[in-house]
Symmetry: C2
Subunit: 248 residues, 2 copies
Amino acid sequence: MFLDTTKAVLCDIGGVLYVGNTPIDGAIEAITKIKEHYPIRFITNTTQKTGSQVVEKLQELGFDITEDEVITALDMTKLFLQNHQSNAEFLLTDNVMDFFDSLKEFPTHYVVVGDAQHNFSYENLNSAFRALLKGSQLVAVANNRYFKDNDNELSMDAGCFVSALEYASGQKAELIGKPSKEFYHLAAASLGVTPSECVMIGDDIEGDVLGAQEAGIVGVLVKTGKFVDADLQKGIAPDLILESIAHL
Amino acid sequence: MFLDTTKAVLCDIGGVLYVGNTPIDGAIEAITKIKEHYPIRFITNTTQKTGSQVVEKLQELGFDITEDEVITALDMTKLFLQNHQSNAEFLLTDNVMDFFDSLKEFPTHYVVVGDAQHNFSYENLNSAFRALLKGSQLVAVANNRYFKDNDNELSMDAGCFVSALEYASGQKAELIGKPSKEFYHLAAASLGVTPSECVMIGDDIEGDVLGAQEAGIVGVLVKTGKFVDADLQKGIAPDLILESIAHL
């Protein structure tokens, strides 16, 4: 069993720990239990919250999780832009915009697309398209297809609008979040282990499970959050399938 | 020269006859001249206007064009839905919505995407996505990447949002407008000629020129409208390239 070689755990957040504003049954206790045995990083493609906002919500819901245990695709995007000494035109929700304020001194060479929700207006998308035509490069904070929304139905996620801008511009976006290998490998490195010593737990059979596997990490699927039965017909074989994280 | 075997002409409208609200230099005279020698159909993926609205604009600009000479992707979409006895959830601009009123008696089995412009809100797109999840089929009135907007810059066109919904839903849209072969073949048939006896004139090297060629029609590119020099690096060989339709 792969758990013999496991030295650390990576865990998705939305859909695995909670849906909407409700913790998954038993998830709070499961995380406490896992943390008694393994170091852990919570890694998320959520772009509607910064890392500190994510932790605040998790703590409010009752989870014993600290800010240094969370890595978000937004954190990685800021690092990417800092490394390239560039600002960007951002398609994001208003509440995370000031997270990138420190980049304002740099010139703008990128268009950054996250889950902008109602900021995905035609006007904003077309402005991003025109920036791409003028030479900006397209960066996808995440490429998720959909997420489980507060009303318990699926809603369109960042990847759909990345796809729209790719189609319009002919560019292929550079992906920062899951399932990019760089993201998984950095998360493993932050725990001081190799990818093969990690287990990744997620509700997205493509981004979490297949993405982790392709990065050399064990991929565990939980049947909560965005999971639907049809996911099991996609030709992807999770290393383990659980009803929820409480069953680990 | 292919003009020896040409018996009829197909011609795109936006970008070939006019840009914004200005006729291309010499286009009005060129159309009059062509019509002295060949029967003609003006075929357009424009979804922001119905056929009669298109003709009205062309006549206002000074073109001698009648409604029976114009075939729009919206006309073909209505025919498609009528044949399937179905209504649809429409992503279109407000001014063409009542064009589909006669379908209201039918149940809704389709999501129809045209160039909805500011109706491409997150809310409307997400509603379409959810309809697709519940079993509706995705229909693209057009799949154009961009068009030359009134401010003389390129703007995102219907195809970008078709791409977003395809990515979200995993469905492949059924295309009604150019470059679908059915559209080209029906346009040729309406002129009583075979595809190989037709010449297609357009400013879109993919949708107009390559699309026509793949339907067995001679493809002529004009360097007006959305044309940019980079189009000639796409590995597509137009049968003829003209500075504008006035040079035919």
